[in-house]
């Protein structure tokens, strides 16, 4: 599911988490869960970017053939 979640939404969620942490809106009890989520979001987004890059490269390569 995470892969299909829209990149932009994930980035937004990530930013919210970070802002909440910064603002100490997150309880220490929830902190590690939130960080875990943030890490997951980061991984997802990075994967999306890598994927996109690969795809674009492939398209361009294909085009030149």
């Amino acid at each position: 599911m995470s892969k299909k979640a829209r990149y932009e939404n994930q980035i937004e969620e990530l930013e919210t988490i970070i802002r909440d942490i910064e603002n100490e809106n997150i309880s220490v009890d929830d902190l590690s869960a939130k960080v875990k989520r943030a890490a997951e979001l980061i991984r997802n987004c990075q994967a999306v970017l890598q994927n996109t890059s690969k795809e674009v490269d492939e398209i361009l390569k294909e085009m030149n053939d």
């Binding site: 930013e15 942490i21 997150i26 943030a38 980061i42 987004c45 674009v56 361009l60 085009m63």
Partner: protein, 471 residues
């Protein structure tokens, strides 16, 4: 000769009574004495009176002034002297002594009882006569010029063919004979028709004779192309009549061209000068006329020749030229087609080159520029996003760490606070707690002497009573 001797040997006359012969003799002596020398005189020979048999000559000499005779003498020239003088004269002037001639002569005065007074001419100066003749000719010419008719006959047109000719000549003369002979023998013997008008051709009488012949011709001038005056063969003397003004005038004003053939002279006579043409000899004149026909005949022949040459070739050349047009036309068409084809080819080539260049440019955009741009912006985008995520990542670390640290710090503070508040720690430093009724006493005012106090130490407790309180 015997006569001469008679004059000279007359004896002297007797006195008192004189025979006629005696008087004559006396006059003769006087004259001989007075006019013993010889004298140069000028005079006109009114009549020469030459007697061919004896050879003597008895000229009548006159002097005229304004047409009137003012002196008139008989003269004689003895045979032997005459021959000598005449030869010398002819050599110098081209003429012999003749009637009407002006001359300068040396003479002796001679008187004879029978023949009377006469002048014995012993010498003649021809240069004087020559001068006189020239003067007369000059006078005639100047007069004609003054009258404006000098060139009149010359200005008439002479036809190139003289077919009808009036001839002034003498039928028996050699000149006329030569003339007709040449015409008859020419290539065109019938071409020229001649009519003879006879006239005297030399001497004083010639003037009137020729002028009257001209008058006769003038009346039928329409029948002729030209008039000729033909004289000659033989003597070249007696031509001075052609210097006559009257004859000159008649020639000048004649309505037909006058052609002269009157022989050789040292100087051209007046008539020869004013004539339309002077050909000198009758032979030359005849040739001149026949030459005209020959030239005309040649022109006809040449025309015929040209025509037949033309007939042989000219149109053939034209026909051949016309045939050339086939080739020229073909060449022009071929040339044109080649030109058009090459023009078309050029245009096409230009078009192809231009189109190829335009396509190359477009292709370059499509193959290189746009893909490159696309790759650049996509990668840039991905890089930016990656950086953003990395930033978030590190922010996550930092912020989490900070949060935990801040929490830790808070717990630490609370822990310190609890430590400070824990009485056990105060007691350890020597302080003690005072209790009254089990409650911690902070104010002495609340105590009464006698109140039971319990004191708690770090180690152990003690009980006491209040004695006194102070504020």
């Amino acid at each position: 000769m015997s006569d001469e001797r008679t004059y000279e040997n007359t004896p002297a006359a007797p006195r008192k009574i004189f025979a006629l012969s005696q008087l004559a003799e006396s006059i003769r002596v006087q004259i001989d004495r007075t006019f013993s020398g010889s004298y140069w005189i000028t005079a006109e020979i009114s009549k020469l009176n030459h007697y061919p048999q004896s050879g003597h000559c008895y000229p009548q000499l006159v002097e005229k002034k304004s047409g009137q005779i003012v002196a008139d003498f008989r003269a004689f020239i003895l045979n032997s002297r005459f021959r000598e003088i005449n030869a010398k004269f002819a050599a110098a002037t081209g003429q012999t002594l003749t009637d009407g001639m002006q001359m300068l002569c040396r003479c002796k005065v001679s008187f004879h009882a029978v023949y009377g007074l006469s002048l014995n001419i012993v010498d003649v100066e021809p240069s004087y006569t020559l001068g006189e003749m020239a003067r007369m000719r000059q006078e005639a010419l100047e007069k004609l010029k003054k009258e404006g008719i000098f060139s009149q006959n010359k200005s008439l047109a002479l036809p190139i063919l003289i077919r009808r000719l009036a001839v002034i000549s003498v039928e028996t003369s050699k000149g006329y004979h030569d003339f007709t002979d040449i015409l008859a023998k020419s290539a065109y013997p019938d071409a020229t028709k001649i009519r003879l008008f006879p006239a005297l051709l030399q001497g004083d009488a010639a003037v009137g004779s020729i002028v009257s012949a001209l008058e006769k011709i003038k009346k039928v001038a329409g029948q002729f192309d030209a008039v000729t005056i033909i004289r000659g063969g033989g003597g070249e003397v007696g031509l001075d009549c052609y210097d006559n003004y009257e004859m000159g005038r008649a020639v000048c004003t004649f309505p037909l061209p006058v052609i002269t053939g009157i022989g050789h002279a040292t100087n051209l006579t007046v008539v020869e000068q004013v004539a339309h043409k002077n050909l000198i000899t009758p032979t030359d004149l005849a040739r001149f006329i026949t030459d005209g026909f020959t030239r005309f005949g040649n022109r006809i022949e040449s025309a015929i020749r040209s025509l037949s040459i033309f007939r042989k070739g000219s149109l053939q050349v034209q026909i051949a030229n016309l045939r050339q047009f086939d080739f020229i036309l073909q060449k022009a068409i071929k040339g044109r087609q080649i030109k058009e084809k090459s023009a078309l080819l050029n245009i096409s080539r230009k078009g192809v080159t231009a189109a190829q260049a335009a396509m190359r440019e477009a292709q370059k955009n499509l193959r290189i520029r746009y893909p490159q741009q696309l790759a650049d912006v996509v990668h840039q985008q991905i890089r930016t996003r990656s950086n953003q995520i990395n930033n978030q990542k590190s922010a996550l670390g930092h912020l989490t760490d900070a949060t935990l640290k801040s929490r830790s710090h808070l717990v630490q503070i609370l822990s310190e606070k609890v430590k400070l508040l824990d009485p056990a720690n105060t007691l350890k430093r020597g302080y003690s707690l005072t209790l009254s009724g089990g409650k911690i006493v902070r104010n002495a005012d609340n105590l009464q002497p006698g109140d039971q106090l319990e004191t708690i130490f770090a180690k152990g407790r003690a009980e006491s009573t209040v004695k006194k309180t102070r504020p």
